[in-house]
Amino acid sequence: MPLMNDPIDLVRAANPVPQAQPREEDARRRMTAAIVSQEVGRGRFARLRRRLPRARLWVPAVAVLLIAGGTAEALGLLNGTPSAAPNGTLRTLTTSGHLVATGSYSITAIPDLSGGAVGWCFIDRQSQTRTAVPLPASEINAELKRARAHIRALLSGRVLLPGRAGHPGQPLTPAQRRTLRYEYPRLRRLLGTGSLSGLNTTSISCSGVAVPGRSIIAQDGGSSGSTSGRVLVTLTSYVFMTTRQVAAVRVSPTLTILTRADKQLPNGYRIAIAVRQTESKAPRRRTPSALRAVQRPRQAGGGRYHAPTALGYDGRPIPTHREPWKLSDAAVFWQHKPPPKAIRIPPPKAPPSGACEININALHDASPFFGEVVKHIQAFPQLEGTTFLSCANIEFAYQGEGVTAALLVDAQHPGARPGPLPNATEVARAPETFNEPIDEGRSQFITGKRVGGAWLLVQASGSIAQRIAILNRLGTCIRLSGAPCPPPTPARS
């Protein structure tokens, strides 16, 4: 160790962050937007606060919080909840805004392949194995036994608290003694919140499009409840896909989720994602109403449902259409073998002639199931960002596997060279053919190539080579105007 006159020099040399590095401009802007947006909603409260003496305000404030069931929710979440890193840690918040457990999530965007559909499908997977609050029964008993023994030893003075580094142990202070005496008879109740199965979901939200006045493109999420003893633990996940103008999504007056960019999302779309955990008193017996409570857990904090509000970088709400709606082009459904007790008007057994055609005749032993064909391609100039219209799709069996093929045109300007597929890379030794990377949790992947003014996509399991082989044997026809494609020759069954 070098000899120095001032030990502070040594501490200075050991600074773990010697230089203050500026954060990304984006992160700063999102933070200030969230702060200012919270303040907009607090205006009335702030005025009230100025009028009332501080001490008196606590009484109604505490009462309101207790009634709401989330004791410190309003205190913990005022700053907005940052979305987790993509494919990374997922934050879980209790009603008090505290992180209790972590899980993981990932997000993938693929074009909606259904015939006539316009927009994107977002696949989000979340995994939450266990929370810190509930413990398995075996652990509860072991923990209870150990904790009781240790507390008894501490109270009797046989065991000392460890001192700071290099210092001898210390006896309990009177305050610590009082705390332990209070805790001791309540240990079982504190520990006995049981186990929680967690949250493991994969969900798909489709028809996501960005148009003026709609900044929340898609939303997803859900709840899972678990009771043990007298505690009902509910995990609620919130997932929003937004346009790039959105800095945060306000879910309720006390929960604002910051958005973040994700390279998996097209057009610079952003994602806001968070999971909240609530604990409440469960009914004594599982009556039908109790079961309903588990199946449909109440909104966090006991409040009513709030429509999500998109907030811009200035912290102000971005006007948005409340009602979810979708864009689509008229398409005709066909099914090769309709079920025996078919609906009143059975669909055609083969693809009708329309604006697009996908022909599988060159694939030996391919058996068509069903598909959809758009009659006339319609342009959607109001769309913002790259968006595709699926003008035909077909699902068929090939070599024992289910395969989906689709023809996608640029939805804003049909016939123009369609934009890139998100996150897809060009396949080596197969020019103009693109493949999306392997993504854990999915069994089928998309490989595509541009044909004329459209993407021809194949979604299937198996290797890239197999998908390329299928892709190269599919026949296509695209008629943007004028006469429709001729009816294809009947596919072999």
């Binding site: 070098p2 502070i8 969230a34 200012v36 700053n79 904790a147 290099g166």
Partner: protein, 182 residues
């Protein structure tokens, strides 16, 4: 936006622009990476609400806010670390700042041997490059009390660092009673 609000927002933005990097570094030196964003956000939230109280030299004041937010965060973390740990708290080491891997073991041990107040005084001067007057604002005490605290911290640090520092130039103990009770 009303003119007053616009002016307020402008001042806040300027403050964030000027101090954000230093506050992030301050928090990063003392807390796990997972909570840095939250603590910085909370610090600026308090700043936004108390913008009228921010002095002309805002950085020490912001450090003071960040220090309190960090303390709150640590208390919250202790509460939720898990029931077992909460009940059997005697098994845990006292709450300590996060040190990077490159901090030598001797320095780490010496810093951990200090009381939290003394440690913070040393770190404000060594890592945040604050003067005694600025450090007093950040620590929430008078300048005189901060000087006394710093002096004691330095003396304790030398003692904890061992024989290599025995001949270090340290003033005799100041008899002044510490007046800062934050």
């Amino acid at each position: 936006m009303e003119p007053a609000s616009a002016v307020r927002r402008e001042r806040f933005d300027a403050l964030v622009e000027a101090c954000d990097a230093k506050i992030v570094a301050y928090v990063r030196r003392r807390a796990p990476e997972a909570v840095v964003e939250d603590v910085v956000g909370e610090t600026f939230l308090v700043t936004w609400r108390q913008l009228e109280r921010v002095p002309d030299d805002p950085l020490p004041w912001l450090y003071g806010v960040a220090r309190r937010v960090l303390a709150n965060e640590r208390r919250g973390r202790r509460r939720r670390t898990g029931l077992a740990a909460r009940i059997a708290f005697e098994h845990r080491a006292p709450e300590l700042p996060v040190f990077a891997a490159q901090v030598s073991e001797a320095v780490r041990e010496a810093l951990l041997a200090l009381s939290p107040r003394e440690r913070e005084a040393i770190l404000l001067v060594a890592w945040e490059d604050l003067s005694a007057d600025q450090g007093a604002v950040a620590a929430g005490c008078t300048a005189a009390a901060f000087r006394v605290r710093l002096h004691r911290a330095r003396r304790h640090l030398v003692r904890a660092l061992g024989p290599d520092f025995q001949d270090a130039k340290v003033e005799p103990a100041d008899a002044a009673k510490e007046a800062c009770r934050s």
